[in-house]
């Protein structure tokens, strides 16, 4: 193993360089733009710190920065423990209905955050269907979905799948013997979970914390829908405001905020790497293929566990998705409205009449399924390049993978719009769906790559070394041994990427053009003209499609989303 890092150096550096170009070109463009006084393509722009001075003197910026930090920490505090417990229950215990739960748990990821937030308004908002019903019975409803605390809670519970995914992947592969040993020495189930399982999956949890902090920093949809009414300003809604408040769009100001986000991410990645290195020392998992035995919950355990899971399912799935589903079939809702008097199929009409919307659906599916496969292929190359490779090449790979995560999709989309516009040999591709694919690959990078990397790490080094000593080149070893073993992991990553691509909305706002419309970005323009009835119908179809696709993937390839 000591020697392998020198192998395939050509491939590794080429892959690293390719990743570098893909990730750094938008990042450097944004960095450059932030030091200019106007758009980078304008002859009147000159170098200067004006944009930084403006931002750093704006009290709104500090307010947004503070709120965003609170929001990020709060989200993580809610979603990480919940996600870890959920993963533990589903993968390590005999919780009844856990196989069924496995597919359902991911549903909150299927919708773009704007639509999800809107679903909460319909269900639990001040005039929400549930709120009104509750008021009808009890006289008053003691909740308010607007404002920072609710925003944090809702963001936390809807990000549970983002933790569950990585935690369950790690837990599934833990040998059961350690837990069994603890159980037979008389430890209770939560003692086992805390003292045996937790330390072993710590790397996955640390990764989830990092990922969710970054997700919270670039979150836009939920803060817009649930925070804005109460004047909660986060960095992304602050960027939104910057585009209007000065009249002519000032990209340099947006760029400065993006640079600030990047600057926050760097120390985070650094801390995360340090923690991961330390955690891995404890998590030296031996044993190959030890049969995983489930921990028995017992009767009380089942009931308690289901109470918790049921509450989460209700809050994170039934409420928002139910809200959207109901809105898709009515023309009015809320105070004084009997929903049954307002049932209609009219909301779906536009979907069948407007060819842009139909094209949007087709493009989105294409981009998700075919584009998703390309993305996974790209991630596999990058993952292999970094596989059992130490040194600064690997370090820079880690940073580059997480860098785009810090940037809001809108800004990545804008940067790629400019790159495809101003780089001569890319120009012919700008008006094709390829430009969207490239941007999407960057957006999905940190999600997909991590799933592949963690599967790769589980391939026992002996297998690779065996092949190597039998005379196989490293390329042959990867092709014949490693890739076939990790195939389930690749399928899982593919499914995951499909979900991410299906619901992405901000990236396409600048890039999309005629013929390359995607559902997510069409929703943004429908929102502007008020067609929320059409949005609800579109979102419902999108949830049904995603769920169907996921079930199909499970059936066809056993491609469950886990390492």
């Amino acid at each position: 193993m000591a020697k392998t890092h020198a192998d395939a150096a050509g491939f590794r550096w080429t892959a690293l360089a390719a990743l570098g170009i893909l990730v750094l070109s938008p990042v450097l463009l944004i960095l450059y733009q932030s030091f200019l006084t106007g758009p980078f393509f304008s002859p009147l722009s000159r170098l200067g710190l004006d944009a930084y001075l403006y931002i750093f003197r704006d009290p709104d910026f500090y307010r947004a920065l503070g709120t965003t930090t609170l929001f990020a920490l709060g989200t993580v505090a809610v979603c990480v423990p919940l996600g870890a417990v959920l993963a533990f229950l589903i993968t390590r215990t005999d919780l009844s209905g856990r196989h069924w739960l496995e597919g359902i748990v991911l549903v909150p990821m299927f919708l773009s955050a704007i639509v999800l937030g809107f679903g909460y308004t319909v269900a639990l908002g001040p005039s929400g269907i549930v709120t009104l019903a509750f008021k009808g019975v009890f006289g008053d409803a003691p909740w308010d979905i607007y404002g920072l605390p609710s925003l944090i809670l809702i963001s936390g519970i809807t990000h549970v799948p983002h933790v569950y995914l990585y935690a369950s992947a790690a837990m599934r592969n833990l040998p059961g013997d350690l837990e069994e040993a603890a159980r037979s020495s008389g430890a209770g189930i939560w003692t086992v979970a805390r003292h045996v399982t937790l330390p072993l999956i710590l790397p996955a949890l640390i990764f989830s914390i990092g990922l969710n902090v970054m997700l919270a920093f670039e979150a836009f949809g939920l803060p817009l829908v649930l925070g804005d009414p109460d004047g909660v300003l986060v960095l992304t809604t602050y960027i939104y405001k910057l585009t209007t408040i000065l009249g002519v769009p000032s990209y340099q100001l947006m760029a400065v905020v993006a640079v600030v986000l990047l600057a926050i991410i760097f120390p985070l990645v650094f801390i995360q790497r340090r923690l991961l290195n330390r955690a891995r020392r404890f998590a030296a998992i031996g044993g190959k293929g030890a049969r995983v035995t489930s921990i028995r919950l017992g009767r009380t355990g089942q009931i308690v566990a289901w109470l918790g899971v049921g509450t989460w399912l209700t809050l994170a799935i039934v409420m928002p998705i139910g809200g959207i589903a109901i809105r898709a079939f009515v023309d009015a809702w809320g105070v004084g409205v009997n929903l049954f008097d307002h049932l209609t199929l009219g909301n779906f009409q536009a979907l069948f009449q407007i060819d842009t919307l139909q094209r949007g659906i087709i493009n989105t599916v294409l981009l998700a399924v075919v584009g998703g496969a390309f993305a996974v292929l790209a991630y596999l190359m990058i993952a292999l390049a970094g596989h059992r490779w130490s040194g600064w090449g690997n370090t820079s790979l880690d940073y580059m993978v997480l860098m785009p995560r810090a940037l809001p999709g809108l800004i990545i989309g804008l940067a790629f719009f400019w790159i495809f516009l101003f780089v001569p040999f890319l120009q012919p591709l700008r008006l094709t769906i390829f430009s969207l694919l490239v941007a999407y690959i960057i957006v999905g990078l940190s999600y997909g790559l991590r799933l592949i990397q963690s599967t790769l790490l589980q391939v026992a080094p002996e297998l690779e070394e065996g092949a190597r000593s039998a005379g196989a080149t490293i390329g042959q070893t990867w092709r014949k041994i490693v890739i076939p073993i990790i195939r389930p992991g690749l399928l899982g990553a593919w499914t995951m990427i499909m979900i991410i691509f299906l619901r992405e909305y901000a990236t396409g706002v600048y890039l999309m053009t005629q013929g390359t419309e995607v559902i997510g970005s069409l929703i943004v323009s429908l929102m502007a003209s008020g067609s929320l009835d059409t949005i609800a119908a579109l979102a419902l179809i999108s949830v049904v499609m995603t769920t169907g696709g996921l079930l199909l993937a499970n059936r066809l390839g056993g491609g469950k989303i886990h390492g």
Partner: protein, 365 residues
């Protein structure tokens, strides 16, 4: 793309079927000079037209079909660019010598005018220009096409009284019953929506006292602001905020038809009307098709098609909603936002920050 092709050919077939002589459709429209035939011919040779617009496909469908029926053989690409992105796209593409738009049609009136001023528009004296009032034209380049009144809207199930129909009375009601209306009123957010800024800036310019009195009362009643029509619509429909100020009436009238619990009120003191401005791009890839389309948009037929899609026309000599009918609904007090230098004033940094300063103060309860 396939769907578009099928649609295009279907429209072409219809056109053939209706006009027994197929070449009829390509003839010069009535009243146009004979040499217009050259533009038509050249446009058909170009065979393509690209429109950048935040007007979504649902609203644009009629206009596209009408144009293609009039001039078969020109494919229309309707590029849905959100109103915040229009300016960026035009400016960036011009800088990269990659102009993709023939027509730019947007509701961001100030930025449209700014684009004209910065030389991104190709001047063209439309043959239909005579039918348009002076406030709807700018330097033979940009033309206003629609009349979109900023109205009050309320949920008649939740708020069962008659809503005061002018700014001062509404302000008085909100101030007197501030506790009752706490958090019950919504307004378009000028800080996040450029469209809202243009409308409110014009509103404040028309009657400073009335506008700020209403804004102050709105702030005192703990009003909530939203950045998209979609959000405002849902909040009023559901009764969360039963009263809305500054809603785009062109949309609201359509919503009220779909949802019977909505009522639209035209402010009687005066009703500001916003619009969408269209111009031909400089260095447009299909300059002749662009001229044809601009003339079509401004023609009787084009204006009628837009009106039937829910965007009232500026032209008054047409069937369907137009300036006169909207003005009638507004009790003759319609104040259209003029396409002139005053709009550019709103882009001035000091003017803007003064406005927002006042706005922030007004929002303080």
């Amino acid at each position: 793309m396939y769907i578009r092709k099928i649609l295009t050919s279907a429209t072409a077939v219809c056109a053939l079927a209706i006009t027994t002589a197929p070449m009829m459709a390509q003839q010069v429209p009535e009243g146009y000079p004979a040499d217009y035939a050259q533009i038509v011919e050249a446009a058909i040779a170009e065979g393509q037209l690209n429109v950048y617009s935040p007007v979504d496909a649902e609203q644009a469908q009629g206009m596209i079909e009408g144009f293609q029926a009039a001039y078969p053989g020109i494919a229309v690409s309707w590029i849905d660019v959100s109103s915040g992105a229009v300016y960026n796209r035009v400016v960036s593409e011009a800088a990269a010598n990659q102009v993709g738009s023939d027509i730019v049609w947007s509701n961001g009136l100030d930025l449209q005018l700014q684009l004209v001023e910065e030389g991104y528009a190709e001047p063209y004296a439309s043959l239909e220009a005579a039918a348009f009032p002076d406030w709807a034209k700018y330097k033979d380049s940009a033309y206003l096409t629609t009349v979109e009144p900023a109205v009050f809207m309320y949920n008649n199930v939740v708020f069962t009284e008659a809503l005061p129909a002018n700014r001062k009375d509404l302000a008085a009601m909100l101030t007197e019953r501030a506790a009752e209306f706490d958090g019950k009123v919504t307004m378009f957010d000028p800080e996040k929506s450029a469209q809202a800024f243009v409308t409110f800036f014009a509103d404040a310019g028309n009657d400073t006292d009335a506008f700020w009195a209403l804004s102050d009362a709105f702030g005192a009643a703990g009003g909530k602001v939203y950045s998209s029509s979609g959000q405002m619509r849902e909040k009023v429909i559901s009764g969360e905020h039963p009263i809305a100020i500054g809603v785009n009436g062109a949309y609201a009238l359509g919503w009220a038809k779909k949802s019977p619990n909505l009522t639209v009120v035209f402010p009687e003191d005066y009703t500001i009307a916003s619009s969408r401005a269209a111009f031909i791009s400089r260095n447009a890839p299909n300059p002749n098709a662009a001229k044809l389309f601009l003339d079509f948009m401004l023609s009787k037929q084009g204006q009628e098609v837009a009106a039937s899609a829910g965007l009232p026309a500026v032209r008054t000599d047409i069937e369907g909603d137009n300036f006169d009918t909207v003005n009638e609904m507004a009790g003759g007090k319609l104040v259209p936002i003029k396409l002139d230098e005053k709009l550019l004033g709103g882009l001035d940094a000091t003017t803007r920050s003064d406005f927002f300063q006042k706005w922030q103060n007004a929002l303080q309860p």
